[in-house]
Amino acid sequence: MNADPTRLVVVSAGASNPSSTRMLADRIAQRVTSRGREGGHDIAVEVIEVRELLPELPQALSSRFMGPAFTRAIEALTRADGIIAATPVYKAAASAAFTGFFQVLEDDLLIGKPMVLAATAGTSRHSLVADTEMRSLFAYMRALPVPTSLFAAPEDMNSEGLGSRIDRAARELTALMAAGFADAVRGDTWHHYSHEFGSAANAEASVDFDSDLMKLATGGTLSRPKSQEKAE
């Protein structure tokens, strides 16, 4: 077995304890770890309960100031090889806590990381929230949600259908984790994404001293600002 196990991070925005959202997330996590074991990989699971971060969310939203619990969550996501992101649906959308959590993260934190998206709701009429809303959030963050999203209304919780979909999503996730896609992207392609200086995901990377702006910073000139290029 590997000395440094593969890391799976569960982000659950369930409101109660235990919540059906967390229960769904745990089922997926269990499936992923047992799939991993079958393939010879130890998978260590860390859970971020967004509910416990809520006291720090207002300051993170208003000034991007991260408290200690947020900082620990970001460290976990920085190390994550795979992610399960689960939220309850309120008013036909992912919960504000869930969306708020991801909105304050740095843009490059999740690049290339495989994810399973999961949502729970009181009625099956919300069943497309994971695919129509959550997927676009993670597309913006350049993460890699697996093809199968999971949704559970009360009637799904004991259905065999949900179990088989969980299994399918877990297979997709472990396949992507084992393929090392995130590492590949973060190796060769990393500098093609935009990064803020000193971002958590980019702490080790060097600054590009050959950029146009760096040339300008060191007494050089820009040929033309980009906005004027088209006009001519």
Partner: protein, 394 residues
Amino acid sequence: MQFGIMSVSDITRDPVNDYTPSEAERIKNVARIALKAEEVGLDVFAIGEHHNPPFFSSSPTTLLAHIAAQTEHLTVTTSTTLITTNDPVRIAEEYAMLQHLSGGRMDLMLGRGNTGPVYPWFGQDIRQGLPLALENYNLLHRLWREDVVDWTGNYRGPLQGFTSTPRPLDDVPPFVWHGSIRTPEIAEQAAYYGNGFFANHIFWPKEHTQRMVQFYRQRFEHYGHGNQAEAIVGLGGQTFIGKTSQEARDKFRPYFNEAPVYGHGPSLDDFSSQTPLAVGSVQEVIDKTLEFREYVGDYQRQLFLVDHAGLPVEMVLEQLEFLGNEVVPVLRKETESRRAPGVPNAPTHASMVHAKYGDAEPRQPRPNANRGDNVTGASPYQDSEGTQAIYPSM
């Protein structure tokens, strides 16, 4: 090491007394605050620049000239001068004038500001904010070092045979600090020119500041201005001092809770433990400030924010008594004894004159007779006859 205060120039309602000072009152009071800074032995007074209410400081050099005229030791500076929306030609002229009138007791800090809407008010485009700042400084740098400048860039009209007047005092340009929180290009520019780097430091965890300062120090050495320990670093900070820890917290908390920057967000306790904000007894503020050098290295200038969030002027003056009489004397002694050998002081006009001329007399440019323009004939100054201005290409 220099210690001083920096003001944002906000006119904020005092939430305890439900009182908002008029612009006239606040402007008079900020001058009192600056004079008090000199009286209690602080070294530096810095004023911000804003172009919208509730701020008053649209014209920093006017205020700073007024303060310099009434003080003898205080260095006046900015926190910051907008290098984006000000024409660098006007910065060159106004701050050279301030340099003459203050007898060299000035420098300036350049920043990009934090108010997006200001860009179009001055005909600029915020999307070009960073290249604009970089290009503008490249021009400003030359305007203070070359009598006659030919220049073409992307963000203002070209200059042909232009002379920025007055020439800097003793022909030694004002010292410049570049302020930035997390833009490596700004730190790079500071390092390239051998200028100072200032980290605001106050709203952010120390890791941000540490990373930027380290980057600047490495690049300063890379460009051959000295080793990393010789780079010129300034830090912001924020204090509220009481006779006891409890008194400081009780008095400051209502202002903190309503402050435009922090209000309705993190608690005073959380913010104090996670950022450089130092609210407490004299000893607590000393201890916290002394920690800064442990993660940025020995540095040259420490500025504290003391007059914001609607604090009444009497309270600010009292804070300056604490700061100047009790905190800073200990900080001076402690930083001096901990400081590594070879770490320079922040440049002053006198030190820069000495560096340029040694014991020789500084140059005093005397203009030639008015010839109506800057583009024909020789140098505009008598002592550089024979230097031909370059004609514009027709």
